[in-house]
């Protein structure tokens, strides 16, 4: 039975995240680095390890800080760890935390590492706003000017149009298409109705609310003081709606194609702030320390499609590859966590997994299989909980492992779609 790591199994010990908050709301005054630190600090405390035993820290983020571009290193400088803890940052768009996790797992599988922390963080409230080219030129020249007069002369070259800043957009550099436009296109290509999307979004909210209400979801969360004065400790996600109704969702206007579109703010994941991290160990270190793993990584895979085609469909290719590497079929999987960027994307992914032509593109004769909806995103997903780009992967892995443990089930699969037409799938197992 082929498993990841050639016999050197990687254990997932615990996961912790901050509350996820719609950007511009309660976490707006936190940087991604601060959010990452909170998640990691609580992970160390809650999992009852000595920070000195951690030997690597890998973190992902999408919108990087211009001032501190290596978020992982900033986090590894928490006083919980010795200053000698090495750390690096990775980027794979919305699968950045997954990349962090698999990079850390690879190091453990190679025997280079025994205890690693991996995760990701994102603040979409605090994105860097860039100066225009003209403004940048003038500022750089002014900084080099040797006298005040020359500096003023340089600044005098500024023109009103130079004052307009550049804000980053969530658009594909290769196609110029925004993420929402891509989802809209996928809905049309795959014939995903507006109603199906809205019903799926409603399902996400209802299940996430149930998970919040019975604290299965909130037990993953670190308490975060609301800035500026810590008037309260934030302990739950603020995007999950208790009383969402189909009628409300159906009443929303499409955003990306106002005339013929079906993708709305209600069936898309919101821009979100948050961070998440998981603790990984070699199986032997976990045993030495008497730690009981939540689960083990059994396999994973990454894939990509042409971004100009169906930008968010690559998980459909990654999933069968990961399953093959795990020696399992979709039927063996007890729980599936599928990242929900858009309802249209999830429904397209599900359709793709059942399709022969997508299976062939992944190199298989038979379709991967029909997704059993009772095993899919049983506590909702990113549509309700939110999607801090760099953090989502670690959130999903944590939720998947915790729920597998609660249900005493054996196999779990997660998939994540990412900008650039990329996809990821991971299979985890419990003993």
């Amino acid at each position: 039975m082929p498993t990841f790591g050639n016999g050197r199994r990687v254990a997932i010990i615990a996961g912790v995240r901050t509350p996820f908050a719609r950007s511009g709301t309660v976490l707006r005054d936190y940087t991604a680095i601060e959010l990452g630190k909170i998640a990691v600090a609580e992970l160390v405390q809650r999992s009852e390890i000595d920070g000195a035993d951690v030997d690597s820290l890998v973190f992902g983020t999408v919108v990087q800080s211009v001032i501190a571009p290596n978020i992982a290193r900033e986090i590894s400088l928490l006083p919980h760890f010795p200053r000698t803890l090495q750390a690096f940052s990775v980027g794979r768009a919305c699968a950045s935390a997954n990349q962090a996790i698999t990079d850390a797992a690879d190091q453990i599988a190679l025997g280079h590492s025994h205890m690693a922390i991996a995760g990701g963080a994102e603040s979409l409230s605090q994105v860097p706003i860039l100066h225009s080219r003209g403004m940048s030129d003038v500022l750089v020249a002014a900084a080099k000017a040797r006298s005040t007069t020359k500096r003023l002369a340089t600044l005098a070259k500024l023109r009103p149009r130079d004052l307009v800043p550049i804000t980053p957009a969530i658009a594909e550099p290769s196609t110029g298409e925004t993420m929402g436009q891509s989802a809209e296109k996928m809905a049309k290509l795959n014939d995903i109705s507006r109603e199906a999307q809205d019903r799926f979004a409603l399902r996400s909210h209802k299940l996430a609310w149930a998970g919040t209400d019975d604290s299965r979801l909130t037990s993953e969360i670190a308490l975060v003081p609301e800035k500026p004065n810590a008037e309260q400790m934030l302990s739950r996600d603020n995007g999950v709606r208790e009383n969402s109704s189909y009628e409300q969702l159906a009443a929303l206007k499409p955003v990306f194609d106002r005339d013929y579109g079906t993708v709305t703010a209600g069936n898309s994941s919101p821009l979100t702030d948050g961070a998440a991290a998981v603790l990984l160990m070699s199986e032997e270190r976990a045993r030495e320390l008497g730690m009981i793993p939540l689960a083990f990584i059994r396999s994973y895979a990454y894939s990509a499609v042409d971004p100009a085609e169906q930008l968010l469909q690559a998980p459909v290719i990654a999933a069968p590859i990961a399953l093959e590497r795990a020696g399992l079929s979709l039927r063996d999987i007890d729980l599936i966590e599928m990242h929900e960027a858009f309802a249209a994307q999830v429904l397209s992914n599900i359709q793709g997994l059942a399709s022969k032509s997508w299976a062939r593109r992944a190199g298989f004769d038979k379709p991967t299989g029909e997704v059993d909806m009772s095993r899919l995103n049983v506590m909702g997903g990113s549509l309700a909980i939110g999607h801090p780009f760099g953090a989502t992967g670690a959130r999903i892995l944590t939720t998947l492992c915790n729920e597998l443990a609660r249900r005493h089930k054996q196999f779990g699969m997660l998939t994540v779609c990412a900008a650039g037409g990329m996809g990821h799938a991971m299979i985890v197992e419990r003993e």
């Binding site: 630190k37 909170i38 600090a41 609580e42 160390v44 405390q45 809650r46 999992s47 009852e48 390890i49 000595d50 928490l78 006083p79 919980h80 308490l223 003081p225 609301e226 004065n229 810590a230 008037e231 309260q232 400790m233 302990s235």
Partner: protein, 737 residues
Amino acid sequence: MTQVTNASSILFRDDEAGLLLELQDGVAMLTFDQPNSPLNTLGTRAAEAFAEMFDVVERSSEVNALVIVSDKQDTWIAGADIEELSRISTPLEGEELSRMGQQLLSRLASMQKPSVAAIHGAALGGGLETALACTHRIATDSPKTIFALPEVQLGLIPGAGGTQRLPRLIGVQAALDMILTGRNVRARKALKLGIVDELVHPSILVAVARQRARQLADGQPLDIKRRSRDAKQLASEILLDDNALGRRIVFKKARESVLGKTRGHYPAPLAAIEVVQRGYEDGFDAGLADEARRFGDLAVSPITRELVYLFFATTALKKDTGLAEGDDTAPLSVRKVGVLGAGFMGAGIASVAVQAGTLVRMKDSSTQRIASGWQAVHHVLSAREKRGSITPAQLNDMMSLLGTTVDYRGFADADLVIEAVFEDLAVKQQVMLEVTAVAPEAIFASNTSTIPIEEIAAASARPDYVVGMHFFSPVHRMPLLEVIVAPATSSRTVATAVQYGKKLGKTVIVVKDGAGFYVNRILSPYLNESGYLLAEGAPVDLIDKALANFGFPVGPLTLLDEVGLDIAAKSGPIMAAAYGERMERASALQRVIDSGRLGRKSKSGFYKYDGSGKRTGVDENIYKLLPMGNRGAAIHETEIQRRTVFAMLNEAVRCLEEGVIRSPRDGDVGAVFGIGFPAFLGGPFRYLDTLGATAAVRQLDDLNASHPGRFEPSPLLRRMAENGDQFHVSSTRSSHT
């Protein structure tokens, strides 16, 4: 002490004093490394060696300049040898010692060859005065490098020219601030104030100092860019420091401020102001003469004697493991501490723990309570950050060590769990059992102020892990910690609590278990007596004023308002049950408590408070609760003092007699740092020694006659009176008894 004449570059060495003078490229490098001591101090022995070095420097034609460096890790020169100061027996002796220091440094200052102080680490007292006498001062930009003139804290004034050189260097206002408070000034601030001329990285300190020395010797300009001072500072200097009229205002204000703070109990700050002023009015030499004379007077004053005693007592406690002699059980190191309860005490404990670098797991029942606890910790630390004592990065690091939770996740690896939950035996036992279930190896410490530890531990299957750690409020400011040992508490548990308490920066006394332990037990009859006085018609503000005048930081009724009458209500019956008649709650206090007033926190107590919590005067309605109102027989201030203070002194002796405290030293330190017993009296036992046991017994007997049952002298005190004994071996100086 031999002068080296061979070809070596060593010009002079005195191994006994730890001084080495080497010639390097025309510069004499004087290295100070006092043997068998973590610090360099300036005793007579060192001063003699310095004088000889200065001789060599002046005489030697090869030497063009002098650099003074220290070989110690964290100190440059830490000031006078306090041991030696405490041996001064007459004012003249003190004056001569001061003159000797003055002359030594005047010689350094007037030397033909330039001198450079290369400072890394603490330059305190005589150390800073030495630096001030140099031509040029270079310091390292290190947190270890601090400057202070802490003499007032021992009841003294700087005695080696500091009162004259510092104001001339940095201005009267800044100099008075340092001299009157004794506060530490960090390197950056010192540069800004002008105490030092430049800051460098420690690795180049000696090289730069040597280079500066050569430049000075060659008459080259140093070309140091002076930092521009901010306009406000400059304006204030011009207006107040640089003209006689302005200075007079500064001196007057300083005097008023000192009198307001000390109520005249501490003469040293006033003497310092006088000496600085003298120097401005009659010149440097007149200032020096006054400095030496006043130093001599103060050195033998009883106040200095007591302050020096307390200095030695706390120094001795720093080395005390808290265990019985011969017991060398090693303490456990505390990496993670659990704190139960995010209230004022819990948050206070968390705030000192994160500052000590410990991981803290703070638990309470609701996120709302945790939020207020988090805020309280942040408040303490951000105040430190605003003062510049910690950097913003340190603030963030410390806050990140504070983990919060509403359940017991993250407790299993705690080495120590301190509970600060509701003051109720059943509640405390409950949380103790919860902790044992999740963290069976953790030491469990109760921060109870009244409940005997033995009673809490009775519910535990491992009572050897249970100890009391009684912090005082506000935790981040109060320097004392009582570690309370119950009969079953193990040595390892005690040693760990004591060592960790010291790591938190506390002065720790080990106290035997029993209601009120030590501090609250001696406080109880004192507070109670203020209740009797109230009932007899003494006005609230007069009672408080009497004890403030005695030297307490606040009077007993203000203290009750601050602590909270509900807290007093809880402890009263416990004390009465344990100690009987003399601790029966005064009915006047009981009536005020029963009226529902909680003190400051409910903005209603003995005093009134406005909406923002500012005190606005005595609440006259109090008197309606009292039999005599405020129209009882006039009670003289000294009688108020006598009754309250003797109640406390007598109880302190009972504590010693019963072995609640291990020594009079612990009793003195506990009262001074836990209650604010006047430091200038040295503590209850030092004060009793000053009064004499016989006189004390006579006073108590007298009081007991008019107030039967409350003032019966403790048997120990009676025995001591009969034998003419003292608590302390010598009343002039003793750190151990």
